[in-house]
């Protein structure tokens, strides 16, 4: 995280969350500025001065600019917030630029959302593809539907790419605050994320932009923030952003008692996704998290790719939430972590009579010496 050191358009100090690598950076910030200020009017390009970035020049990227327009019409309140995407780029290691558009000249305040990845200009090399991870929307009585094909994220250790496309809402909830759990979205992302529609019903040259909140895996959009163009069926309503995770930069202690693997393999269709097992040494406890989608099996043995020598063989009883229905049923499983083969093995056994191993696990259990 860092603060800006200055700007040429009269805004205050701008706080950034950041990920900085040698050939790209991801920056997140949200700030306001006043187009009526003398500094704003004098600027040709909005420039933000920052502590030295890891890249000295970038390709063109985009940020979102939004103004609020609220009022009443014939006694009914309206929300006609509008905006658009502005070009943005890294001019040099200490200067971040945002284009200035005349369409905002008559506004008292604009909100700028930087949720942007800036690539270093002139970089060659082979690109590696990220993996699309589906996001599932969980809401009370399933009142909220997000488009399943276009609501996803691409997860990296320090940041994610997030794309949400609104689907529909049941009639009973149309005038209520919306909140839902986005299963699959990393829960260490906290951000105010613009929601973009094609129409704001007030200015036909700009889009409709309102603001959602992501926090702890939850998505929130209060009724009073939803623009009038939100449910216009002639347009797609979406969010798009590169979001910095609240990652812990503390390096692993030597000999960390942890085994984490994106996909722990137990067979052709048997995978323990986002598997993350960690122990404390004394008293021995094991925390485990991850998800599976394995049906018609009560027992699966997974083979990990890495084999931390410090984790001994142990047994543990874990509780998880079974995926059926709304994912609330409880399942008891026994985990047998074994080190008697070079590859190690992790056997998970259903003890609840579910005869399926499709669950979300988030538990800390007692690690026991094996008795066989």
């Amino acid at each position: 995280m860092f603060n800006s050191t200055g700007n040429n358009f009269g805004a205050g100090v701008i706080a950034f969350k950041d990920v900085q690598e040698s050939n790209y950076i991801v920056l997140n910030a949200k700030f306001t500025c006043n187009p009526q200020s003398a500094e704003y009017q004098a600027a040709e390009v909005l420039e933000i001065k920052v502590p030295a970035l890891s890249i000295v020049r970038s390709t063109i990227a985009g940020v979102v600019a939004r103004y609020k327009e609220r009022g009443t019409s014939y006694g009914y309140p309206y929300v006609r917030d509008g905006g658009t995407v502005l070009k943005s780029w890294v001019k040099d290691a200490n200067t971040l630029c945002i284009e200035k558009l005349s369409c905002f000249n008559d506004k008292q305040e604009i909100i700028i959302y930087i949720q942007t990845l800036y690539c270093m200009l002139g970089q060659g090399g082979n690109a590696s593809k990220g993996k699309e991870k589906r996001i599932t929307c969980v809401s009370e009585d399933s009142y909220l539907r997000l488009d399943t094909s276009y609501t996803f994220c691409v997860v990296f250790p320090k940041w994610i790419f997030y794309h949400m496309m609104y689907g529909s809402c049941t009639w009973a909830y149309r005038n209520l605050d919306w909140e839902a759990f986005l299963e699959g979205l990393p829960e260490d992302v906290t951000a105010d994320v613009p929601v973009i529609a094609s129409d704001n019903y007030g200015n036909n040259k700009l889009g409709g932009i309102t603001e959602s909140r992501l926090e702890g895996g939850f998505w929130m959009l209060p009724k009073d923030e939803r623009g009038d163009g939100f449910e216009n069926t002639a347009n797609y309503v979406f969010s798009f952003g590169y979001l910095v995770r609240d990652f812990d930069a503390t390096p692993d202690v030597p000999g960390r008692l942890r085994l984490a693997q994106e996909a722990l393999n137990g067979g052709q269709y048997e995978t323990f996704r986002d598997f993350d097992l960690e122990l404390i040494p004394s008293p021995a406890m094991a925390a485990c998290s991850g998800t599976t989608g394995i049906y018609s099996k009560s027992t699966v043995t997974f083979i990990p790719e890495s084999r931390p020598a410090e984790i001994p063989a142990f047994d543990a009883f874990f509780l998880d939430n079974f995926n059926g229905g709304q994912g609330l049923s409880i399942q008891l499983v026994k985990m047998e972590y074994r080190t008697d083969t070079p590859t190690r093995s992790i056997k998970v056994d259903d003890l609840s009579g579910m005869k399926n191993l499709s669950f979300k696990m988030f538990d800390t259990a007692v690690a026991m010496a094996i008795t066989e």
């Binding site: 021995a284 059926g324 229905g325 609330l328 008891l332 800390t364």
Partner: protein, 239 residues
Amino acid sequence: MLSITATNFGVNPSNIQIKEYHEQNLLVLEGDISVDTTAAEYAGIRPMKLTVADLPFAKSRVSNALVTAASEGVNYCTLAKVWIADKNTICIGKIIPYKSLGSYTIHLNTMLIPVNNAGQVALNTMKTYVPQFNKGTGDAVEVYTVETPHWMMFVLKASNLVFDSDDQTVEIQLPGFPSDISINPPIIYNENLWSNLGSKRYPATLRNGILTISKDGAADEPANVGTKFTRMIVIRDNN
């Protein structure tokens, strides 16, 4: 006791009694919290937070707590996430589908550990108890514990339980069980794979080594439901 100075979901801290035991890298919590989902403070906040006096560590791995609720006379249960977010904040995840029920209860029987650990692992020793039925019957009943001077893990698994026809209970004696343990373990079961409100449960008490499970007026289970189970972490009163 856990010293709670504030909550963000409308519950007065003085109404919450949570026992706690801690070491340098372990926090054990035991206690109940009643949540009113109609409270103004409950709406629109993620997650529920307890503001507490300094905890032994500032960040934990995620663990869970049992959550119980009633709907149309049926007792349901599920799991909520629990974690330490910073030195003075314990977070508990909300149960979205339980919001319309108006209230639910969080039962903390929870162990929390910090992240980034190393060292020689000292595994715990599991004990097995042989159950003897005083009332009712059951099949393949297994009872396991891990017992330390400060906390205990209790696990029960049964492929089937048959309640006594007179008083609708199952009473199981556990010879050699520690006499200082008095707990109320929920005996959990699943009628089908696709329940919208979670698992069902029978209430139970364990006193002086006798586990008494009550049918509590629950309707007869469907024929294909058998397995009952529980796992409970408790703090021992001799702390």
